[in-house]
Structure formats: structure tokens, C-alpha cells
Amino acid sequence: MLLCYQCGTCASSCPVAKITPNFNPREVIRLSLLGEKEEVLSGETIWLCCSCYNCQERCPQKVEVADLIYTLRNIAFEKGYTPDIYSQFASALLEEGRIVKVSKFVENKRPAVGLPPLQPTGIEAMRKILSTSKFKKPQQKKEEDR
């Protein structure tokens, strides 16, 4: 991140920055370098990255911009600043082993269209793997605590 010289190649490659003033990867990096922790971590900005990696592909300084935003999100999650949908993904992963649940209705229709039965999910193994991860930390703060 320290290699960033604020050229703006990331921002001009970013499809989200093109359509909203609320997200600009160059600014996220600048604010992070300036130590503006609260502003970077608590706002919605870092969650508006669409993870397309155009910025990272094109950065002349090889700053891993998209991966940096993931890292900021990891820290924000620990601090309880997470959009609801991400908390839902986290719970679904622990409960089902999948982030999108396959309904019994859809599963039961498989043989009729010629699809093989679904194999069981390795949910027990995954819970063991996640047992020391951030997924097991006390759940996020509520909206009003922000």
C-alpha cells in the first residue's frame, strides 16, 4: 500500500467509481495511509467494491487494491461494521455449509430432469475449520451501536 503514488489508475478503471461518488479506491488507499481508521472502517464505502479486480490488474505500482479492500473488510467485520447481507452469508455458511441453501423442493426435482442426487455437504469438517476463525467471534454489533 505504501507504494501507492495516487495516480488514480484504480479509480479510472473502477466500474463503481464511474457511477457513484460514494466509492473511489484511490481515496480508500489515501485515507488508509493517513490512518483515518474510523472513517475507512465504519462507513459503507469499502462494501461498495464489486471485487472485479480491474484496479489490481492495472496498478502501475502493483498495489493489491482489491485484496487490500478485502483486508479492510476483515477488520471492519471484527469491529462489527458489516452490512446485514454479509452477516447472513456468515451464518448460512456455519449452518448449511453453503451460502445459498438448496431447498428440498429443488433437490427433489433433480431426478425428474435427469440430474444425479446431490452429495452430502462436509458441514462438520467445515465447522472444525472455521472454529478459530472470525466466523466464531461474537456476532456483530447492532446498527444503533455504530
Binding site: Y53, N54, E57
Partner: protein, 292 residues
């Protein structure tokens, strides 16, 4: 016969069994075997990486371990699964320290990542294992010069340093595979930009705006349909058209088909067997065009 462990992921069996169906039928015709291994889990895609990168690498590596134990390479249909698994595979193979760290986590589930297998995207299997020439010769019902707008989405191509599927700025793999079926690949503005899929649920307005631009550009370029590789891009562009009609009072009527669906039809599968009626934007005119 070349065989792969099929990594099905979550969204395809939950929401788009039509993608799975067309891929299974096509690969069987092309002599590629698929093995359904038990105990696979979520691939740990970007929304999970956003919560905990290290745990995501461990979950992805766990799934690769299952393929290693079965002595099979992995085949993915969803670009999200491809990104998570291929990226993890490449990162762990290149970094001994990281591999040690992840293996310490995997030990809790009795697994060890060895780095002995490959993760391949459906398109790579078609290009490398089947080959364009054999694919062309296998086509029994050419697409009749159907104008197809190739839609790569993001995670088949990027981060390119780890995924190595094709040139991230000037890819040709999907265009060549469309032309091999007798279709015409159509160029359009911002072809390689994001569908907005990962912003759905975070900012639906921005997500729809990104999808809307792709619909505008593909329509303007005169495409008969859009061809996708990923269930999230499919949702963004297919169901997205219905949502855009509601939000912007702007009507697009451009069918979206997974590449595998065009492939299955070109290989002679009866379109009635493909579950195309599950698409929100009707595909009838595409089928009529091919059978004309």
C-alpha cells in the same frame, strides 16, 4: 476418458440447475467424465473472503484436498467457485509458509493440502481437453450465425496472475468457443466490466446500474443474446432485466444463455430437455433462429 471431480458450488444447484444440466449433457457427449464427490462445501467466494481471508483459504483448500484424495483435478462451472479455488490452489502452491499455516487449520478436519491437483474452469476444459477442432467437428446443429455477446464477468479472468485463464484485457477463449459452435461473436463497449452481481443486497441501485449498462451496450451492438459463464452474471443480466424494467421503466429483451446451454444445443441436445423455461427472458426466438 479424462475425468474431473465436479465442484458444483451452491448457487447452481440451488437456483440454476439448468446450467448444471446443459454442462453435464455436453461434457458427456464430448467424452469428459464427471465425478460427484461427497463432503464438498461452499467454495468461500468473495463475500466469505470479505469476512475472513485466512479462513476462506482454508475452506477452499479443504475442497481441493477432497479432489487430491480422489486423485482427480477439479472442474468448476461457476466463475466464483473457480476464482476461490484456483486462486487458493495457486497461492498455496507458490508459498510454503502460507501452505504450512493453512495446513495447520486443515489438520483440525484431518486434511492436508498437498498441491498435487489443478482447478480448471469449464471453458479451459473445452479449449484444452476437447480442443477447438474437435469441438467444431462435434457440432451437429450449428448456431446459424447467431449473434452472441460474450460476457466474461470478472472472476473467470481476474486476478489473472493467479487464475491464468486468458489475457485479462484481451481474452479470446469465449469468443473462439462461440465461433466454434457456428455463432458470431459480437464486440460491444465495456465487454470486460462487472455485471454488478456482488453488489446485489449491498446496493441494489448500483448493481442494477452496472447490469443496465451491459444490457444497453449488447443491445446497441445488435446481439441476439448474451452468453454467460457464471450464475451471478446470469442473475444480474436475466432477472436484472425484469428489475430494470420496474425501476427505470426501460425495456430490454435480450435473452441470456449460459455458454453451456448454447453448447448443448449445438451438440444436438433437444432444447426442451434443458429447462430453458426457467429463464426470465424468453429464449424462444433464439431457438427459432438456430433452427431456422
Amino acid at each position: 476418458m479424462t475425468s474431473y471431480a465436479l465442484f458444483l458450488g451452491c448457487t447452481i444447484p440451488a437456483r440454476q440447475p439448468n446450467y448444471e444440466l446443459s454442462a453435464r449433457k455436453s461434457l458427456a457427449k464430448l467424452g469428459i467424465g464427471l465425478v460427484d464427490l461427497p463432503n464438498m462445501t461452499c467454495c468461500a467466494p468473495p463475500p466469505i473472503q470479505s469476512i475472513d481471508l485466512t479462513a476462506s483459504l482454508a475452506v477452499a483448500a479443504y475442497n481441493i484436498c477432497l479432489a487430491e484424495e480422489a486423485d482427480l483435478n477439479l472442474l468448476t462451472l461457476c466463475s466464483g467457485c473457480f476464482e476461490s479455488l484456483a486462486m487458493t490452489n495457486a497461492m498455496l502452491k507458490a508459498d510454503e509458509e502460507l501452505k504450512k499455516k493453512i495446513n495447520a487449520i486443515l489438520a483440525k478436519a484431518g486434511k492436508e493440502f498437498l498441491g498435487s491437483k489443478e482447478v480448471r474452469h469449464f471453458l479451459q476444459v473445452l479449449k484444452d481437453d476437447v480442443g477447438l477442432d474437435r469441438l467444431k467437428h462435434s457440432v451437429s446443429r450449428p448456431l446459424n450465425d447467431l449473434k452472441v455477446a460474450p460476457f466474461y464477468g470478472c472472476h473467470a479472468l481476474r486476478p489473472s496472475e493467479l487464475l491464468k485463464l486468458d489475457d485479462p484485457e484481451r481474452p479470446r477463449i469465449l469468443e473462439n468457443l462461440i465461433e466454434a459452435l457456428g455463432g458470431k461473436s459480437v464486440e460491444y463497449r465495456n465487454k470486460l466490466k462487472c455485471c454488478g452481481g456482488l453488489l446485489r443486497g449491498v446496493s441494489d441501485d448500483l448493481a442494477l446500474e452496472l447490469a443496465r449498462e451491459k444490457l444497453r451496450n449488447t443491445t446497441k451492438a445488435g446481439a441476439d443474446c448474451i452468453s454467460t459463464l457464471c450464475p451471478f452474471c446470469f442473475v444480474a443480466l436475466d432477472i436484472g432485466q425484469v428489475q430494470i424494467r420496474g425501476k427505470f421503466q426501460e425495456t430490454y429483451d435480450i435473452p441470456v444463455l449460459h455458454y453451456s446451454e448454447l453448447l448443448a444445443i449445438a451438440l444436438g441436445t433437444d432444447p426442451k430437455e434443458l429447462g430453458l423455461e426457467t429463464h426470465k427472458i424468453k429464449t424462444d426466438k433464439i431457438i427459432d433462429r438456430i433452427f431456422q
